[in-house]
């Protein structure tokens, strides 16, 4: 049924830390790897070795520049995948019932054998989280690695989404955002986790942690500047020897 459940028992999702993400794209690669080799149709590439190459990805990392009114610009790496929204507009538009939101954990999934590839769910998603696989003709999206998180054949530490498991800077966290005592919920409360496009009314489960404020660089005239500063002062302000001669000679020309 493509009607949304009234409520879900749990709200499994991701918390993405924009402060620590280094933009390495390892989550993109591990996601593509796991989801190509495991559940559902593989994530195909088109013209992978040609000039005009493209492919299906469930997770993509953007980079944004933020220029404050004063101070230096900041570069923020921005991983984006399905936010497993509570009011998921992609689910209700589906004509076949292929798209659904699970009552037990809130994961939004596509039943690929029912999907007709009309693309309407991708039209309804404001985040660009759904991509129609060009080889298979069905809609692909993040499954929150549903085939990992409950998989008892995997060691316990691997029972989390591939992107979370692989992240080298610990910028991705997985857990139940419906439980206020879970680690992820505490993290969101502590760091002021935010929704993307709240005005779209999708009530995303995934939260983003905003980057922390940057330190301001101390200058030499500041009292707090390094006590070794006097010893680190430049020894020579003016060039000497050959460089001095060259400087003067060039000035005369």
């Amino acid at each position: 049924m493509t009607q949304l459940p009234q409520s879900t028992d749990r709200k499994l999702g991701l918390v993405i830390d924009l402060d620590t993400c280094v933009g390495c794209h390892a989550c993109v690669i591990s996601c593509k790897g796991w989801n190509t080799e495991n559940y559902g149709a593989p994530l195909s590439d088109q013209n992978a070795y040609g000039a005009d190459n493209s492919g299906t990805f469930l997770n993509r990392v953007h980079s944004y520049e933020v220029q404050p009114d004063d101070g230096a610009a900041q570069l923020i790496h921005f991983p984006k995948s399905c936010l497993h929204c509570e009011d998921a507009p992609c689910v209700t538009v589906c004509p076949t019932g292929a798209s659904y939101k699970r009552v037990e954990d809130g994961i939004v999934l596509v039943n690929e054998s029912d999907c007709i590839g009309c693309g309407l769910c991708a039209w309804a998603c404001p985040y660009g989280a759904r991509e129609l696989d060009q080889a298979e003709g069905v809609m692909k999206k993040c499954t929150l690695c549903v085939d990992r998180i409950y998989n008892e054949n995997l060691p316990e530490e691997d029972r989390q989404p591939a992107c979370v498991r692989t992240c080298p800077s610990n910028a991705r966290h997985f857990g139940d955002l419906g439980d206020p005592d879970s680690d992820v919920s505490k993290l969101v409360a502590e760091r002021g986790g935010m929704d993307l496009m709240p005005e779209q009314g999708t009530k995303p489960v995934n939260k983003y942690l905003p980057p922390r404020a940057k330190d301001t660089l101390a200058t030499q005239t500041d009292e707090e500047f390094d006590i070794l500063a006097p010893f680190l002062a430049p020894v020579a302000e003016e060039p000497k020897g050959f460089l001095s001669w060259l400087d003067k000679t060039l000035e005369k020309l």
Binding site: S54, V93, P95
Partner: protein, 290 residues
């Protein structure tokens, strides 16, 4: 949005076909026998042809039958039901007209209602999308319905009604463009809200996720086509409304009527191309594009 020919043809011709079915169901023109057959044939070719065209943009057209299952929540599913309802009821009604020389009035009325509902549900597929602010307004169904009924009246040879409805459709179309131009800004969605970073400064897309293109950019970001939008709007209104109305005002001849119809269809095709090409999906913001 990518202006896919399959969807442009589908909305234009199914709109015309179901518009004609509406008028035939209401008994205008009040025809029976082979004349009725000719009218019905034109309506069915357009309506069914349009519906078939729409299946070309499916990734898995062989499973299209499954689209009937979710009528409780999905406008696309409701459209499928209304279309089949209209085609079946009008086929029985049409059989009465052609073979029995009898007009089953109630059946015709039901068929007409289903035909109007088909066009309405088609328009709601687009209207419901908050992600595309230009479509997300009550004027969108008014736009689709007025064009369908006007074109249907033109095909049905209802000259007086057609002229009035063409002018109404033209007025609605102009309003759609005026309001639509302001819709994206009015939606409040910007790169600042998309990234949640707006309160720290001006956000600029610095680097896209991949050097190549992707499905999202091909489907939702179509910047080139909008270059001549203003000129195309004038051409579209001229062909869709002005030329047919002028031709209908002249002394009636079948040649002029066909010319009026051809002009109207060309105008609607242009308007539908603009409907898609000018529509901006909010996902483009993530890529620094509209």
């Amino acid at each position: 949005m990518h202006p896919a020919p399959s969807v442009i043809f589908f909305t234009t011709f199914s709109g015309l076909g179901f518009g004609l079915l509406t008028w035939l169901g209401l008994g205008a023109p009040d025809v029976t026998g082979w004349t009725a057959f000719a009218f019905l044939a034109i309506a069915y070719v357009m309506a069914v042809g349009g519906l078939l065209a729409s299946t070309f943009h499916l990734g898995r057209p062989e499973r299209a039958i499954k689209a009937f299952s979710q009528w409780r929540s999905s406008w696309l599913s409701r459209e499928a039901w209304c279309a089949v309802g209209a085609l079946v009821v009008m086929a029985i009604y049409g059989a009465g007209l052609v073979f029995l020389d009898t007009r089953f009035q109630l059946l015709g009325l039901i068929g007409a209602i289903f035909s109007v509902l088909t066009v309405f549900t088609t328009s709601m597929i687009y209207t419901q999308l908050k992600t595309i602010p230009r479509w997300n307004m009550p004027l969108t169904p008014a736009n689709f319905l007025s064009i369908s009924l006007a074109g249907g009246a033109l095909l049905a040879g209802q000259v007086q009604i057609a002229m009035i409805l063409l002018l109404v459709a033209g007025g609605v179309q102009a309003l759609v463009w005026i309001r639509g131009d302001k819709a994206f800004a009015a939606s409040g969605t910007t790169l600042a809200t998309a990234t949640g970073l707006g309160d720290r400064g001006a956000v600029r897309a610095f680097e896209p996720p991949h050097t190549g293109t992707n499905y999202l950019l091909k489907e939702f970001v179509h910047e080139i086509g909008r270059k001549h939008a203003q000129k195309l709007r004038i051409i579209s209104l001229g062909l869709m409304v002005v030329v047919p109305v002028v031709l209908l005002l002249l002394p009636f001849s079948h040649f002029l009527a066909v010319l009026a119809l051809a002009s109207h269809i060309a105008g609607v095709l242009t308007a539908r191309w603009l409907f898609f090409a000018e529509a901006e999906h909010v996902v483009g913001l993530y890529y620094g594009k509209r």
